[in-house]
Amino acid sequence: MKPFISFENLSFKYSEEEPRWVLENINLTIDDGSFVAVLGHNGSGKSTLAKHLNAILLPTEGKVYVDGIDTCDEEKLFDLRQRVGMVFQNPDNQIVATVVEEDVAFAPENLGVPPAEIRERVDWALEAVSMTEYREAASYHLSGGQKQRIAIAGVLAMKPKCIVLDEPTAMLDPQGRKEVMKTIRELNKNEGITIVMITHYMNEAIMADRVVVMDEGHVILDGDPYEVFSHVDELKSVGLDVPQPTELMYLLKGAGVDIEKTVLTDEECAEVLYNLLEGQR
């Protein structure tokens, strides 16, 4: 079976004159229905990578295929963009209408979806992001987390197979961040939508099935969160972090405490510490 997304020897630079590649020889495949988090410091190339998924940027060399479509194929541009929706950092830049449900209807209207089906899709999309009760609200009166969920609903109404989110929670408070992460997880689990999420928050990356780490235009680590976050020194050397429980275990292990597996969450960390303390008695 062909993977849903594949980057084949992808290299990219903004102009010919630039001496350095922004992305250099990327080979990566992403399965249908997976949830991938992409990490990297500012300027590592992660947003550039994401923008190749719906042809906002085109490869300088190599190819990107999404659901069998070559992103360079202009004839298929509409099909491609209907399959891959993008959500960006600032919710205020993504909302076009003053009433919530009109905003969500914007994309299907442009796609020429029949009115009755637009109604259905909008209702479904608002339900999926738990914003049904706000459907007639003024979009500019919503909180940041709510606005971001409306932006996601707007993308959902196109019935995409994949949603790419570029730091979707960067401008939100902890409450808004939780709401948005919950929504993203549910869309992945319940609707089977493939998620590619760029984030600076390690606590969000651990929710993904797979973590890809970028540095200087290359993929330097790729694996499930336990695998990737076991490389504490390597992550720190490229300006990234690990979750606090992971760091604590790593430090204790370095001091000589007998710890085998990598932990990611507070629960796992408490469990390991509990067993260690019990073992002493």
Binding site: H41, N42, G43, S143, L172, G176, Q244, L252, D266, A270
Partner: protein, 288 residues
């Protein structure tokens, strides 16, 4: 510099159907050389509060005393106050406007009426402070990366050498290293200049390892004003205000809940490490 806020109320949209008290009878005293974190969720009034500190907003009622003098008294020169209390807004890179990095950073010091020489010295030292290379001096600020723009904007405030430095979510959108670097620099400014620093942030983990005291704002009122340790010791009430506690603090609460005899006011990884190392390996903690 001591800042006393007395019965401060700020009302937005007075006389319209959207009237709202963003701050409601707030009284608080910030002592000289305090290092404070200001937290609260979106809409709690924290940005409104910091915008009063250098006179961008005027109280609807109440007073703000700077070293005992009313900021809005007709004998106070509000311009002077603004030179002493520097405010870095949220996403300050959106406010860059000059043709070159040099001129953007020099804008504040120029308004202060300093000599050409002094301005130059301050611009260069502010650039060094935020970690900008000197070869960027004549570049347009709009050609820089996001992280560099943020640093130019912060340098513009640093160049005024404010006695009180107020930063509204300075690390939002930065990657982990840029975030840690910036927090370290802010800490350095605090120490070297004996200044007062107030940081607005959503990140409890950053606050826990940076500031000394925390103010929690909720619904336009001050809910808490306590040393960091005491704030996180009371995790339940923070959760009830839909605020987060550091993940590491949650670990120790979970241990306590399972019947382990252990302290729960653990809020940095460093402290957690020292505590657990001594428990597990029997080494004596240095601070014990």
């Amino acid at each position: 510099m001591k800042i006393e806020i007395q019965n401060l109320t700020h009302t937005y949209g007075a006389g319209t159907p959207f009237v709202k008290n963003a701050l409601d009878d707030v009284s608080i005293t910030i002592e000289d050389h305090d290092f404070i974190g200001l937290i609260g969720h979106t809409g709690s009034g924290k940005s409104t509060l910091v915008q009063h500190l250098n006179g961008i907003l005027k109280p609807t009622s109440g007073r703000i005393l700077i070293d005992g003098r009313d900021m809005w008294d007709k004998n106070t020169n509000i311009r002077e106050v603004r030179f002493k209390i520097g405010l870095v807004f949220q996403y300050p890179e959106h406010q860059l406007f000059e043709e070159t990095v040099y001129r953007d950073i020099a804008f504040g010091p120029t308004n202060m009426g300093l000599s050409e020489e002094e301005i130059r010295e301050r611009v260069l030292s502010a650039m060094e402070f935020v970690g900008l290379e000197q070869d960027l001096l004549d570049k347009s600020p709009f050609d820089l990366s996001g992280g560099q723009k943020r640093r130019v904007a912060i340098a513009g405030v640093i160049a005024m050498r404010p006695e009180v430095l107020v930063l509204d979510e300075p690390t939002a959108g930065l990657d982990p290293k840029a975030r840690d670097d910036l927090l370290k620099q802010i800490k350095k400014y605090y120490k070297e200049n004996r200044s007062t620093v107030i940081i607005v942030s959503h990140s409890m983990e950053d606050m826990a390892k940076t500031v000394d005291k925390i103010i929690v704002v909720k619904g336009g009122k001050i809910e808490r004003f306590l040393p960091v340790g005491e704030i996180f010791a009371d995790a339940e009430s923070l959760s009830s205000m839909s605020l987060d506690i550091p993940t590491i603090t949650k670990v120790f609460k979970k241990l306590k809940d399972r019947g382990v005899d252990i302290e729960t006011n653990v809020y940095t990884v460093k402290y957690a490490y020292e505590l657990m190392r001594s428990r597990l390996l029997g080494e004596v903690r240095q601070d014990a």
